[in-house]
Each structure stands twice: as C-alpha cells, then as structure tokens.
C-alpha cells in the first residue's frame, strides 16, 4: 500500500529512518520496524490513532526515548547525534513550561540550551513572540497562559535556533481557529524558507491544508505513505446531482454502461450519481445521456476522498478502527473538492 517515495539522494533527506523499533519490557511493541523518509524543504504529516506509535517515533528522533533498534539519519547525521539536535526545533505533545518563567524567559532559556548566543536570542525572541502572536504577553508568567497560548509559545521556542528541521507533535492541540491559522501560516512560511517541517497531528484537516506528504501509522507500523494526491487518487470521481430519473430502461442501461452508480433519491427528489473517474472527458457522455433523456442537471462536480476518509478507510483495513482510533475533525475539509461523498449504490 505504500506509495512510491520521492527519490532524492540520501543526503537530501531531512529524516531518513530505517527499522525503528521500540519494545517495552520485551512484550509491548510500541513501534515495529518503521522506515520513513522526509525530504528537505517539505511539510510532512504523520497521522495515526492514539497508540499508533507516532509520539514514540517522534521521541526516538528527539532522543527522549531510547529505541530498541533504529538506523538512519537526521539532517545527514546519525539519529541521536547531539550537535545535530541544535539544528532541530521541537514542540512536544503535552508541552509544559516551568510556571515561574515568563514567555520571554522561556524562549531565552531554551534558546540558550540550543546554544544560541545571547544577542541573537534577544533579537529572535522578540521577533518570534510577535510572529506567533504572543508579544503582548511576553513578560507575563507562563502560569497565567491558556493552553493555546502555551502552544504558540512552544512554537516560538521550537524556532528560536532557526532550525533546519522543525518537529511538531500536536502543534494545534488546544489552539483556537485563529491560532491554528496563525500556526499554519508559520509552517508555510518555514517551508517557503526551505525548512523541513514534520508534523504529528490528529487534526487531519489541518494536515491536509499544509502537508506535501503524509504517512499513516497503525499499531506501530507505517501502513501508508505518500502525497495526499497520490493517496487519494483512486478515490477521485465525478458526482452528478440531478432531478428525479424517469423510469426509463434505456437510461438505466446507458448509465450502467458508462459506469455510473446511482444513489436512492433524496426526500426532495434529487438523485445523485457518480462515476469512478476524475477526468472531465469521462463525465461528458453521462451529461449527454442525462440531457438526452430530459433529466434536469443540478450540479456536476469532481470529488476526491478527504484525508479523513482515507484515514478511516486505512484504519478499517488495518483493523484499527477502535474507539482509541478516534481522530480530531477540527479544521474541516481542506480542499473545495475534498468532500465526503455520500454512499451510493
């Protein structure tokens, strides 16, 4: 199921992980032989239900967890190479700042731990806090911050060292819609500057809006990986909304011949049809047939599966569609054509 990966040379991978595994107490397999590549300059999304191993993988990359096995490189250096961590910005899940620090002090403190010199810290702290919309509260104690404010601050902290790779674990968790938009803008700005962004999130709509490629994890393994376009390609189709269909055998036979499936009429009398092709040319004979038989066409639109639907389908296929696999739906659907089609017969 894994989609073909882009093929830059190994030096161009920002993240190139092979055989990452983590087993607790020789019995609990949190991660099973995961291999993952993220190209430099792209925004990469990691999806998966709770317990899929996403955070474990992120923590292994950031040396917070020791892997049972892990080969590969981050920014061309072996995973775990300490100096390389200075080139990586990290926003952990369930972020917790020392409550006695102000926002400005927190950015400065973690900047110093990243070996950013004092003058640069001073300049960049103010810039970043302004960029994430926290400048007015920069001197307030973190203890007074809301969860969303802490996430914004966390993003500023992650960026203080002007990292080449930014790893964000649930960056929009607890952030309001305006804040989420701000964070998306920051990520896109990073991409525009050639930085690599690795985002781990439940919020599929968020990821769909910014990610170049995604990987879906389930039960400690990567089950799908590729661009959103590639992964949803097979679900692309044309959808037709029209008035009631006459009881016409020739019409019915023609639709079957053209590969169109029909859903039962809705209460307002509208009928929905779809064909399994995203090509406009393939839709024309259906339009011609419907028009020829006097059917009123209300709408014709191309649709493709949303990331959310892809995700749920993947979870079902992998047998992981459990309550624990619940996902966030915040953010809505990203693309105008990325609607969730109604089931058609």
């Amino acid at each position: 199921m894994t989609a073909a990966l882009p093929t830059p040379s190994s030096a161009d991978w920002a993240i190139n992980v092979r055989h990452a595994s983590k087993t607790y107490r020789r019995a609990i397999h949190a991660l099973r032989d995961v291999s993952l590549q993220v190209a430099q300059g792209e925004i990469f999304g990691l999806l998966g239900p709770n317990g899929a191993g996403k955070s474990t993988l992120v923590k292994i990359l950031m040396t917070v967890i020791r892997p049972t096995r892990c080969e590969g490189e981050l920014l061309g250096k072996p995973v775990g190479d300490r100096p390389t961590l200075g080139r990586i910005g990290y926003l952990p899940e369930h972020l917790r700042f020392p409550s006695y620090l102000s926002g400005l002090q927190a950015v400065d403190y973690f900047g110093a731990l990243s070996k950013v010199d004092r003058a640069e810290r001073r300049t960049r702290s103010a810039q970043l806090l302004d960029q994430v919309g926290m400048a007015p509260w920069a001197k307030q104690p973190v203890a007074n911050y809301s969860k969303g404010m802490k996430q914004r601050l966390g993003l500023a902290v992650a960026l203080i060292a002007d990292p080449d790779l930014v790893v964000l674990d649930e960056p929009t968790d607890g952030v309001d819609p305006v804040g989420r938009k701000d964070i998306r803008d920051v990520l896109l700005a990073l991409k525009a500057r050639g930085k690599t962004v690795f985002v781990n999130s439940h919020l599929l709509g968020e990821l769909e809006m910014v990610c170049d490629r995604v990987a879906i994890m389930s039960k400690g393994t990567v089950v799908r990986q590729g661009t959103i376009g590639d992964l949803t390609q097979r679900s692309r189709r044309y959808e037709f909304v029209c008035g009631p269909l006459p009881n016409d055998a020739a019409l019915r036979d023609g639709l079957v011949r053209l590969g169109a499936s029909t859903a039962p009429p809705s209460p307002n009398g509208e009928t929905q049809l779809e064909i399994g092709s995203s090509e406009a040319d393939a839709a024309q004979p259906v339009i011609d047939l419907l028009r020829a038989r006097g059917v009123t066409l209300i709408a014709v639109r191309p649709v493709r599966q949303s990331l959310e639907d892809l995700f749920i389908e993947t979870m079902r296929e992998s047998g992981d569609a459990t309550p624990g696999a619940a996902i966030g739906r915040s953010g809505g659907r990203a693309h105008p054509d990325a609607t969730s089609p109604k089931k058609v017969s």
């Binding site: 967890i65 020791r66 300490r82 100096p83 369930h94 972020l95 917790r96 006695y100």
Partner: protein
C-alpha cells in the same frame, strides 16, 4: 552557556518558591537574635543591652566570652538551625525540583537540546543546592558581622560553615534526587529522604551509645585490674614473709579475694570485648554512610575555638552538681560525664578527611546511580 542557563533556571525556580523567602526571613531573625547577645565589662547582655547578667568570667574581652559567643554559633545555631530546621525546610522546598523537571512535556524540551543527559543531571543537582548555599551564605555573612561587632574580631573561619552545611545537605539531597529520578514522585522522594535521615540519626545514635557502653565497661574493668594487681602483690609479700602456709588465714583470705577479683576481671573484660565487637560492627556499617553529624561538627573545629569545650561546658564552667547529691550520685555523675567527654573527644579526633571523604564517597555512588537512571530511562 547551557550550564549557565540551567543554573539561572534554578535561581528563578528558587525565587518563585515562597518557602525560600520564608526561610530567608527566619535566617535574618536568627542572625538578629545572635547579634542581640553581647558582652559588657561586667558580663553578658541580651536583647541589644536591654538586660545584663553579671557573670564575671564572660566579661568583654575575656577568652571565655569569645568561646561562648563562637560556641553559640557552632554548637547551637549551626547544629540546630542550619543542621535541622533549615535543612528540613530546604528538603521540603527542593524535593519537587527533579520530579517536576522530569514530568512529561517538560523534560522532552530539555532532552531534545544539544546537551548530554549526564550534564543536565549534575548541573540541575548543583542548581538545586543553591537553595541551601544561598541560605547558609546569607546566614554566615550575618554571623560574621555579629562576631566582628561583638568580639571585635573578623573571623573568616565562620564561612567554613557554608561548604560544610551544603555538604551535609547534599548527603540527604542525593538520596532525594535518586528516588525522585527513579519514581518521578515528590511524595516518594520526600518520604525516602525522611527515612534515610532518620536512619542516619539512628545509626549515629547507636554508635554513640555503643561507644559509651564500651568506654564505660573499660572504666569498670580498670579498678578491678588495679585491685587484682594489689592482691597479687600482697600475696607475693606474704609468700616472701613465709606466711604462705595452708593454715595462714591471711594468706587464704588474700588468695580468695584475688580469685574473686580475677573472675570479675575476666567477666568484665568479656563484656568489654562484646561491646567492642558491637562497636566495630556498627562502625564498619557506618563507614559506608555519610557522617552528617560529624560534618556539621567540623564547623566547631574550624571557627577558631576549642573544639573539646562544648557550649554546656562553657556555660557550666565545668561545675559539679550541687550539694544535695550523695557521694555515690556525685561519683556516678562524674563517671558518666567522663565517659561522655571521652566519647566526644574520640569522635572529634576523627580526621576531617575521613569524615568528608567517606561521606562524599557515599554521595558519589548515590549520584552515579541517579545519573545512570536518568541517562537510561525513557521519558
């Protein structure tokens, strides 16, 4: 830069703790009390001269007045305030530092930085000791000024209390940190430290009591040996005088007394040997433990006073109990005091390098275990 940032973070943490400021305020109060004691040409004054006690031996400028003032510092304030109360407040205040630091979402941010875990652990540990360091330094500076004012003497030896009290605190805190790292629980760390502190106190008390028993047994056996020697000599004299016939009552009586005395010597010597064996066993055990009392008592040696003269000795002027005591009670009391004094002298004769060296060895092992646990664990 990274270590400085961690230390600065520790300082900010301390500043945010109310208990730090409360302890500091009590520190100033204790220094103010210390400074309120002074000396006049006629004796001691308290409450900044509000009340005067005419005690000639403590008149201003006399050596005993100096001994008294320095003893109040080393035997009372350092031992009781810094060695117990302030240390307990410091433990309570600093126990949560490591468990909080290791909490999910907090430690991740630090471990993902280009700094080694071992360095993070030790710098954080040193930073946590800042609580005690700042408290003791403030206190010693105050005491230094008091001594300069009251004795007209700038006693730099007082500042030796700073490393010694910090060292004493670190013996307890290393255990606190080890448990904190292993369990990530503030309560567990606090309970473990309290138990460890009690265990140290209990083993020290057990050693002290066993030592006293051993010396008391020695003092018991000494007069018996003297008596046996006298009887042996008397028996030899009787033999020399030709009075050693079986029918000589005197000879028989002396020989009987000698046998009894020898039996008593053997019995008492057995008790001495038993006490010595117990003492040796306890000492072997305590060798591996930090010497918390002895470390604090080193202040007494290094402030430039007679370490063998305790605060009680100075206040009592080595006086004996009053006339209501019987001769027997008086003798028992003298024996008890002699035993205690000898135990005290022997303990104070232990070299500083031994006291500090064995304690630091213990601390090093505990910290190594803590660092290893911190280095290996997943967060």
């Amino acid at each position: 830069m990274q270590s400085a940032a961690l230390l600065m973070d520790s300082w900010r943490l301390l500043k945010s703790r109310k208990l730090f400021w409360i302890t500091l305020a009590i520190n100033f109060f204790v220094v103010a009390l210390y400074g309120s004691v002074g000396f006049s040409p006629r004796g001691i004054t308290i409450l900044y001269g509000l009340k005067e006690f005419e005690v000639e031996r403590f008149a201003f400028g006399l050596p005993l007045a100096r001994e008294l003032y320095l003893s109040i510092f080393s035997n009372f304030i350092v031992t009781l305030w810094l060695g117990w109360i302030a240390a307990a407040l410091a433990i309570i205040s600093t126990t949560s530092i490591f468990p909080d630091f290791l909490g999910e979402g907090a430690i991740d941010m630090v471990l993902a930085k280009p700094i080694s875990r071992v360095r993070v652990f030790f710098v954080k540990y040193v930073g946590s000791l800042l609580f005690v360091l700042l408290q003791v330094a403030t206190f010693c500076l105050g005491a230094f000024l008091c001594v300069g004012w009251r004795l007209n003497e700038w006693n730099w030896g007082l500042f030796m209390a700073i490393p010694l009290v910090v060292l004493f605190f670190s013996y307890l805190y290393c255990v606190n940190v080890l448990v904190g790292v292993m369990t990530r629980s503030t309560i567990a760390a606090l309970i473990a430290t309290a138990i460890f502190w009690f265990a140290l106190w209990a083993t020290s008390a057990a050693e002290n009591i066993t030592h006293q028993i051993a010396i008391f047994q020695e003092t018991e056996v000494a007069p018996l040996e003297t008596r046996a020697a006298e009887l042996t000599e008397r028996l030899a004299e009787l033999r020399a005088d030709g009075k050693n016939s079986e029918n000589s009552n005197e000879f028989e009586r002396v020989r009987g007394e000698l046998e009894t005395a020898m039996d008593q010597v053997v019995a008492e010597q057995g008790d001495v040997d038993t006490a010595q064996r117990w003492l040796l066993g306890i000492r072997i055990f305590t060798t591996a433990l930090p010497k918390h009392e002895e470390t604090i008592n080193l202040v007494d040696r290094w402030v430039g006073k007679d370490p063998q003269r305790s605060l009680t000795d100075i206040l009592m002027g080595f006086g004996r109990p009053g006339g209501r005591w019987s001769e027997k009670q008086r003798a028992d009391q003298e024996t008890r005091e002699a035993v205690e004094r000898r135990v005290d002298q022997e303990r104070k004769a232990e070299p500083a390098w031994w006291i500090i060296g064995t304690s630091v060895a213990f601390e090093t092992i505990v910290l190594a275990l803590g660092a290893w646990s911190f280095y290996r664990r997943d967060f």
